[in-house]
C-alpha cells in the first residue's frame, strides 16, 4: 500500500494549504475512507474531482495538467464499454487486461508504447 501519483499530488496540495484529509473530503463532498482509498490506489479518481480541485485551489493550467497526469497515472480500473466494441475487440481487451495483471511497470510501458506507435501509424 502506498500513495498513488494522485494521492501524492493532493497530499502536497493539502500541506501547502494547511489542510488535512478531512478538509479535502468536505471540499470534494465525499467521505474520508473514500478519499483515502482513492489516494491509496484502491479506487479510481472520480472525474468530477478534477474540476472541484481546480476551482477550490485555483490551479493554473500547468498545475491542472500535472493533476490530470497524476489522475491518469493513478488509474486502477479501466472501463470497457461493450456496446461500442465488437466481439473481437471485447475479447482482446479482456485478454490484455488479464495479461497486465502482475506485469512489471517497465514491460507494461513498453507494450503501451508499441500499441501507441501502432495507433499513430494507423
Amino acid at each position: 500500500m502506498a500513495y498513488t501519483s494522485f494521492g501524492e499530488y493532493v497530499r502536497i496540495l493539502r500541506i501547502k494549504h494547511h489542510q488535512v484529509m478531512g478538509d479535502m473530503a468536505k471540499i470534494l463532498g465525499t467521505t474520508t475512507p473514500y478519499l483515502s482509498s482513492v489516494e491509496n490506489g484502491r479506487k479510481n479518481v472520480p472525474k468530477e474531482w478534477i474540476d472541484k480541485i481546480e476551482k477550490h485551489y485555483g490551479l493554473n493550467s500547468a498545475d491542472k495538467a500535472k493533476l490530470i497526469n497524476a489522475v491518469d497515472e493513478s488509474k486502477v480500473q479501466y472501463k470497457i464499454v461493450p456496446k461500442n466494441a465488437g466481439a473481437a475487440q471485447r475479447k482482446a481487451a479482456v485478454q490484455f487486461a488479464r495479461s497486465f495483471d502482475g506485469m512489471d511497470d517497465e514491460t507494461a510501458e513498453k507494450i503501451i508504447a508499441l500499441l501507441n506507435a501502432k495507433e499513430e501509424k494507423a
Binding site: 502506498a2 494521492g7 488535512v20 484529509m21 478531512g22 474520508t32 475512507p33 483515502s36
Partner: protein
C-alpha cells in the same frame, strides 16, 4: 498483542518527544497537531502512509493499527469514526490513538524494533521493553510537553493539549 524491544527510560522518551516535534517543525510547547503530522508522515519516514477505513474493516477493539507494507514502510490504518472524531470534534482519545501509531513508526525508525519473531500477550512484558507501552508513553510525552505542563490540573491539561482524561491523569501521576 505486544512485542519485546530494547528498553527505554522515561527520560529518553522525553527527549524523543522533543525530537519528534522538531522533526515535524512543531513548537516544543502547546498542542501537538496530530492530523497535520499524519499528512507529512511519508516525508520523513520512507514508504509510510495512512489509510482511513470504514469501521467494519478493523476489529472492534482496534481504533487504529500500524502494519508493515510492501514499500519498506508502514501503513497506519485508522477507523473512519476515529479519524472523523479527531478531525471534526478534536476528541482527545481519538487524537491519542492516532498519535500512538505515529509513535510506533518513529520508535521503529530509531531502532526500537521487535527483538524476537514471537509476540506476547498484552501486559505480560515489563513496561520499559514493551513496544506497546513505549508507543503509548511516547504519545503522552509528545502530546503533553512535560516542562510546560508542570503544575497544571486535569481540566487544564485536557483543554490545553486536546487529550483524553486518561492521558491527563497519567501526566499528573508522573
Amino acid at each position: 498483542m505486544d512485542y519485546r524491544t530494547k528498553p527505554v527510560s522515561r527520560k529518553h522518551l522525553r527527549i524523543y518527544a522533543q525530537v519528534l516535534r522538531r522533526l515535524f517543525d512543531v513548537p516544543q510547547d502547546g498542542p501537538f497537531p496530530v492530523l497535520t503530522v499524519l499528512e507529512r508522515l511519508g516525508d520523513y519516514f520512507e514508504g509510510c502512509c495512512f489509510l482511513v477505513v470504514k469501521d467494519k474493516y478493523l476489529p472492534k477493539q482496534t481504533p487504529a493499527r500500524c502494519t508493515a507494507n510492501d514499500n519498506g514502510g508502514f501503513t497506519i490504518e485508522i477507523k473512519q469514526s476515529v479519524y472523523d472524531g479527531a478531525f471534526e470534534r478534536n476528541i482527545g482519545a481519538y487524537l491519542g490513538f492516532i498519535c500512538h501509531e505515529i509513535c510506533h513508526v518513529f520508535l521503529f525508525s530509531i531502532g526500537y524494533r521487535p527483538l524476537y519473531e514471537r509476540s506476547f500477550a498484552n501486559n505480560t512484558l515489563p513496561a520499559y521493553c514493551s513496544v506497546e507501552w513505549q508507543a503509548k508513553a511516547l504519545s503522552g510525552e509528545v502530546m503533553i510537553p512535560y516542562r510546560e505542563s508542570r503544575g497544571m490540573g486535569l481540566d487544564k491539561i485536557m483543554e490545553t493539549y486536546h487529550v483524553s482524561k486518561g492521558f491527563a491523569k497519567t501526566r499528573i501521576n508522573l
